[in-house]
């Protein structure tokens, strides 16, 4: 009857809830999204290309800057893929410590997600509660490697140093209070009716679509697919750990929230096992001073907090650098699902969808 015009609008790159510099071009009919197009590249630094000019030891510094809230996961992927390329056996103690730190990192990444996701939906207080515990984890990282965010935590072949004195005690102190903190976040959100209204049934994506898009991580698990690389292709010390892979079937924002909260509990469990069963021994394998690779290629994937983080490395004969380096970044792949999740929904749901995908733009753009 009356002709409406659709409104085209930029959501981002400078927007409080696009988690960095994501730009989403939206076409709105009223407030209903008819078209959604993520535009990326505002944080592109060419990490993959740069790493081809860096030695295997130096490259790890650049992986810090990809998913900067989960730097240790990135470090682990880098170190392990090179160890796989050279066939280096990492000592058991080092693998335990790596596992412990990576899981702590997963908790801190999920805490950041929880805080910002809730902030986007309007629950402002959860943010600072989550950051309170995140600070404790970052303090642990600082104690271990001197850096809080861009850690460059590991060395190829193991660890540069053993755990500092008092680290396990500090970690145990965190362990002792963390579960109660998770309960606290859940008190604020899980049964909150407004929270449920804003998340249940919002931004759904089915398991088939997830697999078609290559979406991994908590988003896939919330759609009912229990795919977790820690279980499917164990690395580090995960084959010696006992933990569950939480899944949900609703495939909506609320299900992803539940999955991630449960993952924090499982990570807590893994960290506890690492502390309890930490073996004695060296933390560094015997390595030559300079690594010269043979021709060969390797793909190594780990379960980063956001999903499957894969490193593809090609070695060149006699070179100290990778010939080709490619990252399969979970945020990048997951972000593809955004239009699918939001078209036909309301503007406020786009915000919830970006939050629930948990993208980090450093990793999307690389």
């Amino acid at each position: 009857m009356f002709k409406n015009e659709e409104m085209e609008i930029n959501l981002g790159p400078q927007h409080p809830s696009t988690h960095g510099v994501l730009r989403v071009k939206l076409r709105l009919d009223g407030e209903t999204v008819t078209h959604c197009e993520p535009i990326i590249g505002y944080l592109h630094r060419g990490v993959e290309k740069i790493c081809e000019d860096k030695t295997f030891f130096q490259g790890q510094v650049w992986t810090d800057r990809m998913d900067y809230v989960a730097a240790i996961s990135n470090n682990l992927g880098w170190a392990e893929s090179i160890e796989k390329l050279f066939g280096i056996e990492v000592p058991r103690r080092a693998r335990y410590i790596r596992t412990m730190l990576t899981e702590l990192n997963r908790i801190s990444s999920h805490l950041l997600w929880l805080g910002t996701h809730a902030l986007d939906i309007g629950a402002m207080t959860v943010f600072l509660y989550a950051f309170r515990e995140r600070e404790q984890i970052l303090d642990l990282f600082e104690a271990f490697c001197g850096a809080r965010l861009t850690t460059t935590a590991f060395r190829i072949g193991g660890l540069r140093e053993d755990l500092p004195p008092g680290f396990l005690k500090q970690a145990q102190a965190f362990q002792d209070r963390f579960l109660a903190c998770v309960d606290e976040y859940e008190t604020l959100l899980t049964e909150n009716r407004i929270w449920k209204k804003r998340t249940v049934g919002v931004a759904p994506i089915s398991a088939e679509d997830c697999i078609a898009y290559g979406v991994t991580g908590p988003v896939l698990r919330a759609a009912g697919v229990a795919f977790d690389i820690r279980k499917a292709f164990p690395y580090a010390a995960y084959d010696e750990m006992e933990f569950d892979v939480p899944t949900a079937t609703a495939a909506d924002t609320y299900a992803r929230y539940q999955v991630r909260v449960e993952e924090m509990r499982q990570s807590h469990r893994i960290v506890q096992q690492c502390i309890d069963k930490l073996p004695e021994g060296p933390v560094m394998a015997k390595l030559p001073k300079v690594l010269k690779s043979e021709v060969g290629e390797v793909y190594h994937a780990i379960e980063a907090p956001k999903g499957e983080l894969g490193y593809y490395l090609v070695g060149e004969k006699g070179s100290g650098n990778p010939y080709r380096f490619h990252v399969r970044a979970p945020s990048f792949v997951n972000l593809q699902a955004l239009p699918k999740m939001t078209e036909g929904k309301l503007l406020a749901d786009v915000i919830a969808a970006i939050g629930t995908l948990d993208v980090v733009l450093g990793e999307v753009d690389r």
Partner: protein
């Protein structure tokens, strides 16, 4: 009163009027800046942090960060006053005014204390004396006016986010206003008039022996509707759609800065105060002390303080809710308003009407 009047060479009636007007205006202007402080310190307490405490007068006097409110005011005055070229200039300047004036009328007809006799004349602590037939209709009407400030700001800014905010404001208005008025009608019906003085008087004494005779206990469902609607009217979380900083950035005041923005912000706190005063008068016994049936012997100042206590306590509830709850989506507000609040308030009205039938 006579002494004051003779000092000013005016009649007592004129002097009293001046006092009343200054009180109604001064209370809002006086409490709103400390309320911004309370909001920031309160949110800091809720969020387990410290909040602003660095601003200091002469490098010494900090008063728990209260000086911050002053520093903010000064800062606003010296911010760049940018009027974007794409905006409609006149409306752009007019909008803060339209937002500010209705907010300042929040205390206009609210009785702030007990009426008292002095020199044979009765004085009322309210801008409108009883028996003029207007009463509580005035704040209702003025409250609905507030949306114009938002709409004009949104339209004049000529910014897409602002327009979205303005649209949301009007959607909000059409969603809660009906439930609100039906809830209020139940009060008018039971009281038998619009007059705030009578509404307060009707709430004195005890109810069922153990509760104060407040409408909140006598009409709990009406109160529920009214309370929720007041949050929407004050544009506060969980209903801050027109702003929604994490969704539409800042909504209707996205292009505003400097003192124009400060006026809009001040208006927001004015609305909180006005809403608190309304809730206090309608449902929490106004200036009445709980359980006391006869206030004849109680000093006027005590009743005024009781009123102020209730209002400020409610303001703190507003702050508490904001920092605790997530935001609704605005189609959900419409569902809430039409499918929950409206039937509840209708049923509430019919129930009390049925009970009072002859």
């Amino acid at each position: 009163m006579e002494t004051l009047a003779s000092l000013l060479h005016t009649s007592p009636a004129t002097a009293w009027m001046a006092v009343k007007v200054l009180m109604a205006f001064g209370l809002i202007m006086g409490i709103a800046p400390p309320l911004t402080w309370a909001e920031r310190r309160g949110s800091a307490m809720i969020q387990d942090r410290i909040g602003p405490n660095r601003a200091a007068l002469f490098g010494k006097i900090r008063i728990l960060g209260l000086v911050q409110a002053l520093a903010d005011g000064v800062k606003f005055f010296f911010k760049e006053d940018l009027v974007p070229p794409h905006a409609n200039k006149r409306l752009f300047w007019l909008a803060p005014l339209l937002a500010f004036v209705p907010a300042m009328l929040g205390f206009a007809v609210i009785p702030m204390g007990r009426s008292f006799l002095s020199g044979g004349t009765e004085y009322h602590l309210s801008l409108l004396d009883p028996g003029n037939g207007m009463g509580m209709l005035f704040p209702m009407a003025v409250g609905a006016m507030a949306v114009y400030g938002i709409l004009v700001a949104a339209w004049s800014s000529n910014n897409k986010w602002a327009i979205l905010g303005g649209m949301r404001a009007s959607a909000q208005m059409v969603s809660y206003e009906v439930g609100l008025s039906l809830a209020v009608i139940a009060i008018f019906m039971v009281t038998g008039g619009y007059d705030p003085h009578e509404i307060v008087k009707a709430q004195q004494g005890t109810f069922l022996g153990v509760l104060p005779n407040w409408y909140v206990f006598r009409q709990p469902f009406g109160f529920l509707v009214f309370f929720v609607c007041m949050f929407a009217e004050a544009n506060r979380l969980p209903f801050d759609f027109a702003e929604g900083e994490s969704e539409i950035v800042a909504g209707f005041h996205i292009e505003y800065g400097s003192m124009k923005f400060a006026l809009i912000g001040l208006a927001e706190y004015g609305h909180i105060l006005g809403a608190s005063a309304l809730i206090t008068t309608m449902y929490l016994g106004g200036w009445g002390i709980p359980f006391v049936a006869d206030h004849g012997q109680i000093p006027v100042i005590v009743t005024f303080l009781v009123f102020l206590t209730k209002v400020i306590a409610l303001c703190l509830v507003f702050i508490w809710v904001r920092w605790t709850l997530p935001r609704f989506r605005y189609d959900q507000l419409m569902n809430l308003g039409w499918k929950k609040l409206l039937p509840i308030s209708m049923a509430n009205l019919l129930y009390f009407a049925y009970r009072m039938r002859g």
